[in-house]
């Protein structure tokens, strides 16, 4: 039954925010969950602090690109990108934004939490943690945590896990 899952996810941010790493984490989690996955990401010129977006398509797809109005989940590492990439979302899509200010989306101040964890750059994992605890993603928090454990650089592992846990805990979820 798991195999029939289809989910389209975007990760939106600016170069340097770890959009590519977040994409990898989600892609690896899909494979771990036994699902096919295709992603598309930005490299090169686009990455020098410019706006970037990754597409992640989980399940039986052939193309790595998401059509406008088709994404089920949006992870926005900056609220500035809402105007740029929101058009990719379905009307019922769940949008998670890294911001302290509320709006017509779910949000948490991932940058401040990441700073507390030790480095601004792990805001990506805070946001993934925050999204996964709402049960809106294709996999469990536990599976995602295993993936982070597996693919993090040894030096970064503790920091990454800490950031992920902070995201999981945003809504007061109990943490192991």
């Amino acid at each position: 039954m798991m195999k029939n899952i289809k989910q389209q996810i975007i990760v939106s941010g600016v170069g340097g925010q770890g959009v590519v790493f977040a994409t990898r984490v989600i892609a690896e989690a899909s494979m771990e969950a036994g699902l096919n996955v295709l992603t598309s990401e930005s490299h090169g010129m686009a990455m020098r602090g410019g706006t970037v977006v990754s597409h992640i398509k989980i399940g039986a797809f052939k193309s790595p690109l998401i059509r406008r109005g088709q994404a089920d989940v949006g992870l926005f590492l900056t609220p500035a990108n809402l105007g740029v990439h929101r058009d990719l979302m379905t009307k019922e899509g769940r949008i998670f934004v890294n911001t302290a200010s509320s709006g017509d989306y779910e949000h948490c101040d991932a940058t401040t939490l990441a700073k507390d964890a030790g480095a601004v750059v792990v805001a990506n994992l805070v946001l993934i943690g925050y999204a996964v605890q709402t049960d809106s993603l294709f996999c469990t928090a536990e599976l995602m945590k295993n993936v982070i454990r597996r693919i993090s650089q040894p030096k970064q592992l503790e920091l990454n896990l800490k950031a992920f846990r902070l995201g999981l805990g945003v809504n007061g979820t109990t943490q192991k």
Partner: protein
């Protein structure tokens, strides 16, 4: 156990080369192709495969090296971006005539859009121009499988085979199965054959005849007859022909629109030469034919049929990337369907900029302010972003800026008080194609300032080492080739080296250089702007940090924002002044020299 991994398209092709027993693989980095060679380095280490892997100085050099390796019977490969093949065009065109021995695969990554290139040219046309076969993968997994197909085809017909992925294959990730490499370890055997390997004009007609024969034979292979996803006949005599990622997008779209299984859909994997029987099948079996391909009408042009709709006929836009949204519009028109709801137009994103603390920014600001009337030819790399704040005037193709400097010099020579010509080029670009232009400039007695932005790396494409760094692709030491030695060898007599972070000193060198250029005995004056790229975190950790602050004296004039464009300087609109973004600032301290009010100070 099945070894399945999440691989980027470039990693998948890099893996494919290792698995196929490729023994020589050379490349020059260029988006979107850059990660292929690095992936092969990693997989060769992991599997103990014996391969010569090199970051060559440029694509022509990479091509010629791999070609000679193939002459000895070894499987060989070369990778580049599409415009890299322009640089390698000379050996490429002739290699089709002379052919190869060991399987020879050239991976040429196209960039429809383009996202990170100076053209969106279609390398499949280049393959057709050269008369060699070209494979067009639609996904990372397929790109890996096609490496094997390409080697087999190349070896069977002794012909170079092009594998042409696009950005959306190169930079897509997918779960891909990995296999154990086949170790060929062929003993090199170069068989002398002057009529072939020297091939003076008298031998060319015969080689050309053989080439035509090979292409003709390949066009008859049933293996490359496009795969058909059959329709149920409800749409009579209608078919869609697609290749590459455009096929993948079309397939997903048809499924989404509930049309999959109603229309015959063909996937072309070998766009040139288009399979002979397939051409006949389409011409005789269909009246409504849509071709979806990137980026030029290669398949369309081979079908030569007025009923065909595509890029040439205007049904599909004749430029740009075929995103699912673009294909959707074309499908709706082709199938007479009502147009889908148009989503609201999206806002434009933030443009890329040089990183905080980037040494190029410091050098550019000094050049701009020292020569307000100057002409600034520049080149390809991160430093092209200098255009954001008016620090460069041209960017054409790798190495062009130096020859352009010569052109500008002679155009203005004899004018009263000519503008300063200040050419800027990165270290890797200088090695790639700048040196012949420099020799020419010196020899022609041109006079201009050449600033070599030496950040000790190829930054834009992911920090590949340059010849000066002296580290080869697999991390082992090579023999460093030093830029000052090259400059001297090219006959340059004015050479200065300076860290641009010291802007006063750097500007003083620029003024000296200008005086030299304008003197009777002057010539080319080179100023090497020397400071390593900060993308390497260890470099950043080693350099001193100056904490800076913006004082009450800031008037909000925005000089630092518009003329210097550091991402760590932000405008606080409410306060009407500039603030420092502590999360971004690396403490280079250069902005202190920029503020006309002296309002940026060290803490």
């Amino acid at each position: 156990m099945k070894d399945e991994r999440i691989l980027m398209g470039n990693e998948a092709m890099g893996r494919g080369l290792v698995e196929c027993g490729c023994e020589f693989f050379s490349a020059y980095p260029g988006t979107p192709s850059s990660e292929i060679l690095a992936a092969s380095v990693g997989f060769a280490k992991e599997t103990n495969a014996k391969m010569h892997l090199e970051w060559s100085v440029n694509e022509k050099v990479a091509y010629e090296g791999a070609l000679a390796s193939s002459y000895t019977g070894k499987r060989s490969a070369v990778a580049m971006k599409q415009v890299g093949l322009n640089v390698a065009a000379d050996p490429f065109m002739r290699s089709a005539y002379l052919g190869v021995k060991g399987g020879f695969v050239l991976v040429v990554a196209d960039d429809p859009g383009p996202h990170s290139s100076q053209t969106e040219q279609d390398s499949r046309f280049f393959a057709q121009f050269a008369k060699i076969p070209v494979l067009d993968p639609s996904s990372p997994a397929e790109s890996k499988a096609m490496v094997q197909t390409a080697f087999d085809l190349s070896e069977k017909y002794e012909i170079p085979v092009m594998l042409r992925p696009t950005t959306r294959v190169c930079h897509a990730r997918q779960n891909v199965s990995c296999d154990e490499p086949v170790f060929m370890e062929r003993t090199p055997r170069f068989e002398k054959d002057p009529g072939r390997w020297i091939a003076t004009p008298q031998f060319i007609p015969e080689l050309h005849r053989k080439l035509n024969e090979k292409i003709d034979d390949i066009s008859k292979l049933d293996d490359f007859r496009p795969r058909c996803f059959k329709g149920d006949g409800s749409r009579k005599a209608t078919c869609i022909i697609a290749s590459g990622v455009a096929f993948a997008c079309t397939y997903d779209l048809l499924e989404d629109m509930g049309l999959l299984g109603q229309i015959d859909l063909f996937q072309v994997t070998l766009p040139y030469p288009l399979q002979r029987n397939f051409i006949e099948q389409i011409r005789s079996g269909y009246d409504h034919i849509l071709i979806v391909e990137e980026t030029y009408p290669v398949i369309e042009a081979q079908l030569l049929d007025p009923r065909v709709q595509g890029r040439q006929s205007g049904r599909i836009p004749n430029r740009g990337e075929l995103t699912p949204d673009v294909i959707q519009g074309a499908l709706e028109k082709f199938l007479d369907l009502p147009a889908g709801e148009a989503p609201p137009a999206a806002a434009k994103g933030k443009r890329p900029a040089l990183c905080a603390g980037c040494p190029h920014r410091a050098a550019y600001y000094a050049i701009k302010t020292t020569f307000p009337r100057g002409i600034f030819p520049s080149d390809i790399g991160c430093y092209t972003l200098g255009m954001n704040f008016g620090a460069i005037d041209t960017c054409h193709c790798m190495g062009a800026c130096i020859s352009q400097g010569t052109g500008f010099y002679f155009a203005y020579a004899g004018q009263e008080d000519p503008p300063a010509i200040v050419v800027s080029i990165g270290d890797s670009t200088f090695f790639h194609a700048g040196i012949p232009g420099l020799i020419n400039a010196v020899f022609q007695k041109a006079k201009f300032i050449l600033v070599i932005l030496d950040n000790a790396t190829t930054a834009m494409t992911g920090n590949q080492p340059t010849p000066q760094v002296g580290i080869t692709a697999d991390g082992t030491p090579g023999k460093p080739v030093l830029i000052p030695d090259i400059l001297k060898g090219c006959g340059v007599e004015f050479i200065r080296e300076c860290d641009p972070y010291d802007m006063d000193d750097f500007s003083a060198h620029l003024r000296d250089a200008d005086r030299y250029c304008r003197s009777v005995e002057g010539g080319i004056a080179v100023v090497i702007s020397k400071h390593p790229c900060l993308l390497d975190r260890s470099i950043r950790d080693k350099q001193p940090v100056f904490e800076v602050e913006v004082t009450e004296d800031c008037t909000g004039c925005e000089e630092c924002l518009n003329e210097f464009e550091c991402p760590a300087l932000l405008l606080d609109k409410a306060e009407g002044r500039v603030v420092i973004d502590e999360n971004t600032c690396v403490g280079c301290g250069v902005c202190v020299s920029v503020c006309p009010m002296g309002a940026i100070t060290r803490k």
